[in-house]
Every structure is written in C-alpha cells, then in structure tokens.
Amino acid sequence: MANSTQAAFEKQPMWAGGRSPFNVSYGKLMMWIFLLSDAFTFSSLLVQYGAQRFSNVVTPVTTKWPDPASIFNHFPFIHGVHLPLLFVSVMTFILIASSVTMVLAVEAGHRHSRKEVEKYMILTIIGGAMFLGCQAWEWSTFIHEGARLHSNMFGITEQGYKHLASVDFGDPFHWMDGDRTNGPVPFAALFFIVTGFHGFHVFSGVVINVVVYIMTVRGVFEKRGHYEMIEKAGLYWHFVDLVWVFVFTFFYLI
C-alpha cells in the first residue's frame, strides 16, 4: 500500500510541483544547502589565511611566515622532543575513524537495526569527544608557547633555521635565545579563528549526535518507521571531517 503510493508519487512529472525533483527528503536537501553555505564560510576563512600567507612569503627571512613543523612539534606526555606533524596526524585518524563509525550507523539505520545504530552512534560520539580533547591540548600547548591573538613570536631568524635544520624527527629539541623573533601578526589569530571555528562545529556535531543517540534509544525512529535523522546528522558530521582535511592541509602540511 505504502510502496505503491510512493511509486505513484515518484512517477509524477519532475518539475510539475508536488514532489521532490531530487528524490531526497526536504530535510536532507536543506542539510545539503546548509552545508554548501558552510563550505563558503570555511572557504572564506581559509582563503584569508592564504592571502595573508602569500603577502609574507619573501625576504627578509625574519618576516617569513612561521614554519608549522617548528611550532606544532609536541606530543602529549613526551616533552622536549621534536615530533612535527605526529599529533595532528593522530587527530586526523581519530576524525576519519569517527566518520566511518557514523556511516556504519547510517547503514545500520537502513536495515532498521536499532542495537547497531546505538553502538555506532556511541563510538562516533566518543571519537568526536576525543578529537575535541586533542584540540584543547593543542590550543593549550600553543598558548603556553606564547601564541596570542595580537602578536606572533614564531618568526624564525637565520640562526633559528640553522638550528631547526640540525634536528631530525624524534631528536631532543628546545628553542635557544635568538632563534625566534616577531613574525606576521595574523598567524596565531587565524590559527585560533579557523581551528576554533572548526572545533565549534565538531562540538555542535557531538551535541547533535548525542541528541540523535537519545532519540534512537527512546525508539523515536522505530515509531517513525525510518532512520533518516541519522543520515542528516551523518551529513553534518562528514562535512566536519571534510573541513578538517583542508585545515590539516593548509595549516599543518603546507
């Protein structure tokens, strides 16, 4: 009965009104439109970072844009060792892993398997919380190093570049006097704005996932007859992962 009504519904002319031309629900379409607008928001922030960076690329060497490998080289519980990129790669792995548990929850929702949806949603929430914890640690380390919104002491002198070139991955490393000087001011400010904006998205995503998890446990979707809400929460969560791919590329790799 329901299926034949649906089949008749989908056979109506595509643009004649009264149906979805994209064969998706209203909620999912609106989530896509929201994500598109959010993509523009993050692009504007990242493009601003790019423009600031491109306006500080050349000589004299002391005003060069800070080298991420020389700043984000810490790892929890390991002090005074030069480990660039390692911690942020772990963060990336956590986010990718939580993305895959989210998509497994969506897949379980298609099979109306409530127990599995609950399991995968819990794993996704844990992954998001872990990522937020990592980011809090990253921020606190960065601030302890001396990062502020209005100044940047991560410009590297020629002596600093020589010092940095002499250490390998995993060597003991501490800055010496005269290694660093004032660099372009927007560096730390943009780091805080962009990773903070992304972290706030992760936080909202975790809140949404918790709400959806509680709804699953209370059997709301079972009564409703479909688990589409998991898909919508999932779209948002994957978008957060997508943004991190570019934050990771532009703030840490390049």
């Binding site: 009965m1 329901a2 519904f9 479909h226 590329t249 790799l253």
Partner: protein
C-alpha cells in the same frame, strides 16, 4: 499537517525516499583509502623538501580525500545528478576567490 506523518501520506515536505543498505564494503574501502592517503602525506612531508611540488602533492591528495568523503561517506555519488550539480557547481566561485586573493596577497608582498 499532523505529526508524525502516517505512512502513505506523501507530499514534497514529508516525502522520505525508501532506502536500502548497500553493505559496508565500499565504506570500509573508503576508510582504508583515506587512512592510506593520510599516512602517505605524513611520509611525503619528511621525504621531500618544502617546495611547490610538495605543496601541489598535498593539495592534490586533499582534493582526492574530499572526493571520497563527499562521494562515498556523504553518498553524493549515488544521489541524482541534479542534486550533485546544485551542490558542486557553486563551489567554482571558491576557486575564483582563491586565485584572486592569492594573486593580490602576493602583490602586497612586493609593496612591503
């Protein structure tokens, strides 16, 4: 309109398409691809000197990762082409913005 919607009552606002599970094979494959690219990025970071080529590799693999996340995880590969186009085509403007502002930023360098 009353809520919740009774089965069989369809219109554009309450329509939920029937969905089926396509298994987890593609999802796990995507996961391994994303993980592999991230490890590859990590290796390239230390294997190559910081040059334009290395940056190009990073951006290229960033776009590859974005393709897999949007296509497989967000399921856009399997949606109708209409939907994929209204989401993807407007991002052309982002490319324009990048080119414009990087050019201007570079010009500011020479004025400093």
């Amino acid at each position: 309109m009353e809520f919740p919607v009774k089965p069989g009552e369809y219109d554009a606002m309450t329509y939920i398409p029937h969905t089926e599970s396509h298994g987890t094979k593609e999802l796990w494959r995507t996961f391994w691809i994303l993980l592999g690219i991230t490890i590859f990025d990590f290796i390239i970071y230390f294997a190559l000197d910081p040059t334009g080529l290395r940056n190009f590799i990073f951006i290229f693999f960033g776009i590859v990762k974005a393709y897999y996340i949007v296509g497989a995880f967000m399921h856009l590969k399997h949606e109708k082409i209409n939907l994929a186009m209204i989401i993807l085509v407007p991002t052309i403007f982002i490319i324009g913005l990048i080119m414009g502002l990087l050019y201007e930023g570079n010009a500011i360098t020479w004025m400093k």
